[in-house]
Symmetry: C2
Subunit: 336 residues, 2 copies
């Protein structure tokens, strides 16, 4: 018999024990899925929610297909100071493109960017910022833009930490994303940032694939170029995925209401309200930047990532608020 | 020893054989995943593609994360004659809403709909159709619209087959969707039809969850109503997911280029071109309606689902063309 010829009784015994262990043996002690979270009410709230919605027979049980969790990106999954990293990308792109645009030396807001006069750039308000975004994010194909983002994100470093920007992703949030996925959740990013600025790296850094990223976008147009179809990026805003835009983006991109949502600023308030208003168990969490030493401390008075109304709403509604300083053992994922 | 006390040698032997069988035993003969597809070049092309992109070590291997397949809906996954089923829905909604709109008796295109004069409605062209769509699809919350669609799709019957519309989904295509998913593909719908007209039933009928449905849409707005957030459906077109819009919708909703795409009309041409133009193995398929007896036979001269340029492109590019009459053993999924 083939079995007898191929296996010694020793090998057969090993297989037998393996088979029995998987059925009857004591379960391997599970590793802590959230090692960078200190014990305390925040961690307990997260684990308590996940356990009650995943336990069969629990009155709060949520079927796997409905376990949708949405995460803001800037300030929630990675840092956002001194400015949104995408704004830093745009400023560097202006410098890189300047040789092809000699007229920029005389033309605002480009002239101020090239002189390094950031206060003047910011004084130009939204109009200036949109001009900078369009000049640096449009006028090429989607494939060309993806390559530009990939090259930048692989090499550019943060002005003060000197880390790669993706090294400034928050280790505790990466653990939280993985913990939710291990419990049957589908994790989505819902960010005011540009959708095509995030997609080239979110799978590698957060484990979130491109089809689960929702963000702001400019219009694209299908064109034939030398007999090859391309999608060209046009200098027109398509969608702003911020504030009241977030539930709109969630509805369009997911088509289900999340059962859990994670943000850090007033830009996330409507996403949290939309999530909280659904039936059954819900979980809303705000990352409060309270750690001036290891990261930054800011909330109601910050230009970037202002947290004011949403902090009041969290208190009024019993949402979970992360105290970064006390809840997180470690901040950044850091170098690999 | 616990093992000895709990298991007779007979039980241990059964487990041993089970363990070995799963590693070395002959594989259970697999059930045919495509029982409604006749043998022939179409079926062989499908199976050949799936085998070469999923076989490890194959020069055409595609990693699971990149196995994106996109399907048109009307005419590809379910029937579309005599008119797109969503148009039939809109006409029935006009009749249902008429008591609340006495002015419609005098007002086109509503008056013609209420008199049952379809040729006159169609003579009004796109302007009339958009008016009908807006009057029946906007002005309520997303939740209200979902309920209306669910009620209609559960009870409305096709004018000639008398089947429920979801019973007119194509059995061979449902098998194909499942076959692709069993081989690690993520299946998406990319339809000119309304995204919120499809999402309430695509998971049940096709196994495609809402977050994998891309379609045409009207704008929505986040509003607080009696202290509860709602998304109101506005009478403004947001996006038309047809022709050159399909690659745009794919890029926005998925962010990866499909490796396989399935359509049936000129509205799918750009999706097929976009899919075909990517690197590595690609699969493009067109469902050709050739079965006047069991379904409908139409192509170049049809108003609904015209297949002209895309049929030429299929021939020129070697895309697979389903001959519905000869390739399909069975057409509709039919009553459960």
């Amino acid at each position: 018999m083939i079995l007898h010829r191929r296996f010694s009784s020793g090998a057969a015994f090993v297989l037998l024990v393996a088979a029995l262990a998987s059925v009857h043996g004591p379960e391997a002690r599970e590793k802590d899925p959230l090692p960078s979270w200190n014990d305390g009410p925040t961690r307990s709230a997260i684990v308590g929610f996940v356990e009650k919605v995943t336990r069969k027979g629990s009155p709060d049980f949520v079927p796997p297909a409905e376990r949708i969790a949405t995460f803001d990106n800037d300030g929630t999954l990675w840092a956002e100071k001194p400015f949104y990293f995408q704004a830093l990308f745009a400023l560097e792109r202006v410098k890189a493109l300047a040789p092809q645009h000699p007229e920029w030396k005389e033309q605002e807001p480009f002239a101020s960017v090239l002189r390094g006069d950031l206060p003047k750039v910011l004084a130009g308000g939204e109009k200036s910022l949109v001009e900078l975004l369009m000049a640096t994010h449009a006028g090429m194909s989607t494939e060309e833009f993806e390559r530009i983002v990939k090259d930048w994100i692989a090499t550019a470093r943060h002005p003060t930490t000197k880390l790669l920007f993706t090294e400034m992703a928050y280790q505790p949030m990466i653990e939280l994303l993985a913990y939710l996925r291990a419990n049957g959740f589908k994790t989505f990013i819902v960010s005011g940032g540009g959708i095509e600025f995030m997609r080239p790296w979110t799978e590698r850094v957060y484990g979130v694939p491109p089809e689960q990223v929702i963000g702001s976008s400019i219009k694209t147009a299908f064109q034939m170029k030398d007999g090859k179809p391309v999608l060209m990026r046009l200098a027109q805003v398509n969608f702003i995925d911020d504030k009241a835009g977030k539930p709109v983006g969630i509805n369009e991109g997911i088509g289900r209401r999340p059962v859990a949502a994670f943000g850090n600023s007033d830009g996330d308030l409507e996403m949290l309200q939309w999530t909280a208003a659904g039936p059954g168990a819900r979980f809303c969490l705000i990352v409060h930047h309270t750690d001036a030493k290891r990261e930054w401390a800011y909330d109601r008075d910050s230009d970037v990532g202002r947290l004011d109304k949403a902090l009041d709403a969290a208190k009024a509604n019993g949402w979970t608020v992360v105290d970064m300083k006390n809840d997180w053992k470690r901040i950044y994922v850091g170098p690999k």
